[in-house]
Amino acid sequence: MMQFENLFEKVEAIIDKYGRERANLLPILTDTQDLVDHNFIPEEVAEFIACSLCIPTSQVYEVITFYAVLSEVPKGKHIVQVCDSTVCRLNKNTSLVEALEKELGVSVGNTRPDGEVTLEFTPCFGACDISPAIRIDKKVYGNLTEEKLVKVINDNIGGMHS
């Protein structure tokens, strides 16, 4: 597919960097996904990686579907993750969820129709000292109140509020 042409070259470079052994599959996949706009591994790319490492495509998918970071389907350009583990629940993360859904215009567990943002729950990411916390595109924001949350969203995904 045309849209991935440039991508294959970059993936090739990643594979060369790590080496063509199966043991390097996880870092190859995470680095590759970082290159793709919507935080996923397209099927053509999964096949390309399988081929380069001389392993069945099913083994590549076994890994993609096992790890929370990897996705086989497109997600939003921005990923907003709300910690839903024990500590953040005790610290009333539910009010954050409501505010996020309202602010981002998408319900938790979904990607907004314009493809700009995915809002999802995530297990504990170790920010319990600043709970309740969220992650936006892998960056952690903590000690959140509804007010602070709106500012964080505007700073990171500003201007896209539908």
Partner: protein, 420 residues
């Protein structure tokens, strides 16, 4: 008794990780030089004398583990620093990675030298990706300073460390699953034996230690076992990093000597419960740990007193819940986690977590049946005794301890369930 100590945490924020000289200026790598003088036997003696037990949760005597690992023959031997800190309510390893990475590196080189390891990895969870580049830089600087690489400090010992990133899987905190993921597979546990010490990464002997354990090895070598074991109780020597969090005023990582009470931890370190509310319960050691009622708040934080009361230190998480929280809601949050994180390899864990989640969900909304209530404990026990690995075995701990201490609230008629 003093309520905090600064042996393991003594270097926090005292130097700039991007300037290795600032670490060397505060006695950095002095413990390593001492270790080279002591030799492998001397280091193991020192660690045995300190009474150190594994800080990742299993509390296995570290000196014993070092000796066992050293006695495994092999030209290639791996040392993995397990920084896949995924246990909910636990973040003490993050502080070590962020505020004292060179002590981890120094502890790793000391450990590698002790057991004869040839290659090292720091396996850092993806969620700490913002630390990855800093950590890679510290490894580069350590290599430039000849604290890593070939012929370290001219002692004829070769050892290097690479960083490996996880990809979001709690199960990979379990040693053999972590190793599977490093071989490019999904992170599902291996059957033991063979233990990873004998056959681990790429089927070579592999020693896996928690971040805090490795740092504490360095700490003990630096201060001497005598200074370390002066702290603590008869059976729980030394100090421990705890992750204090939940409904307390001052959450954070604290280094405590074993033996102070849980009340002291909450009130003196945590500044008490938020909004002047009362403590209702705690969860100790993370989501896989026991729920402790307020009535036990005056017991000492130590392995022996915890054991007497059916608790475990685990990772050192101390999660405090105030009186406004319902037990059933809390169990629901624990179950949500384990349902998500069960790897699916064995039936007791995969199905057990699903059934527990369903029943707890019904108890939460008041629609549980007699049959549900009768099943909870049975399913939890099956998971505890029949699961393949530690995840499934410990996933029902919260449920089982909640039943022990809060059965009146959990099973109150008309509140959480209706009789058919």
């Amino acid at each position: 008794m003093k309520r905090t100590a600064n042996l393991i945490s003594g270097n926090f924020k005292k130097y700039d990780p991007l300037q290795i000289d600032s670490y060397i200026a505060i006695d950095g790598f002095k413990a390593l030089k001492k270790g080279f003088e002591l030799g492998s036997d001397g280091i193991i003696d020192e660690i045995n004398a300190s009474g150190l037990m594994g800080r990742g949760g299993a509390a296995y005597p570290t000196g014993v583990k070092l000796k066992q690992s050293r006695d495994v023959p092999g030209d290639v031997k791996y040392l993995i620093c397990n920084a896949d800190e995924g246990e909910p309510a636990t973040f003490k390893d993050r502080y070590l990675l962020e505020y004292d990475p060179y002590s981890i590196i120094e502890g790793m080189v000391l450990t590698a030298y002790t057991v004869g390891a040839t290659h090292g990895y720091i396996y850092v969870r993806e969620e700490y990706s913002y630390l990855h580049n800093m950590l890679r830089k510290t490894l580069d600087l350590a290599r430039q300073g000849n604290f890593l690489g070939e012929n370290i400090l001219g002692k004829g010992f070769d050892f290097d460390i690479e960083l490996f990133s996880g990809a979001g899987a709690y199960i990979c905190g379990e040693g053999s699953s972590l190793i599977e993921s490093m071989e490019g597979k999904s992170g599902r546990p291996r059957i033991k034996p063979p233990y990873t010490k004998v056959s681990g990464l790429f089927r070579e002997p592999t020693l896996v230690h928690n971040v805090e354990t490795l740092t504490t090895i360095k700490t003990i070598l630096y201060h001497g076992a005598g200074v370390f074991s002066k702290y603590g109780t008869e059976e729980s020597k030394g100090t421990k990093l705890i992750s204090l969090c939940g409904n307390v005023n001052n959450p954070g990582v604290y280094e405590i000597p074993f033996g102070i009470t849980i009340r002291e931890i909450i009130e003196d370190l945590g500044g008490g419960v938020k909004d002047n509310l009362d403590v209702k319960f705690l969860q100790l050691g993370g989501a896989s740990g026991a729920i402790m009622p307020k009535s036990l708040i005056d017991i000492p934080y130590a392995y022996e007193s915890f054991k007497e009361n059916g608790l475990e230190i685990g990772s050192g998480a101390v999660l405090v819940a105030d009186s406004t929280n319902r037990i059933i809601d809390f169990l629901d949050s624990v179950q949500t986690f384990f349902l998500h994180e069960s790897c699916g390899k064995c039936t007791p864990c995969r199905e057990g977590n699903r059934q527990l989640s369903n029943i707890i969900g019904r108890m939460k909304d008041g629609s549980a049946t007699d049959n549900d209530v009768a099943s909870v404990e049975r399913i939890a026990n099956i998971m505890k005794y029949a699961s393949f690995c530690g995840l499934g075995k410990t996933a029902p701990t919260a449920v089982l301890t909640a039943i022990r201490y809060f059965s009146d609230e959990l099973f109150s008629k008309g509140d959480v369930y209706e009789r058919m």
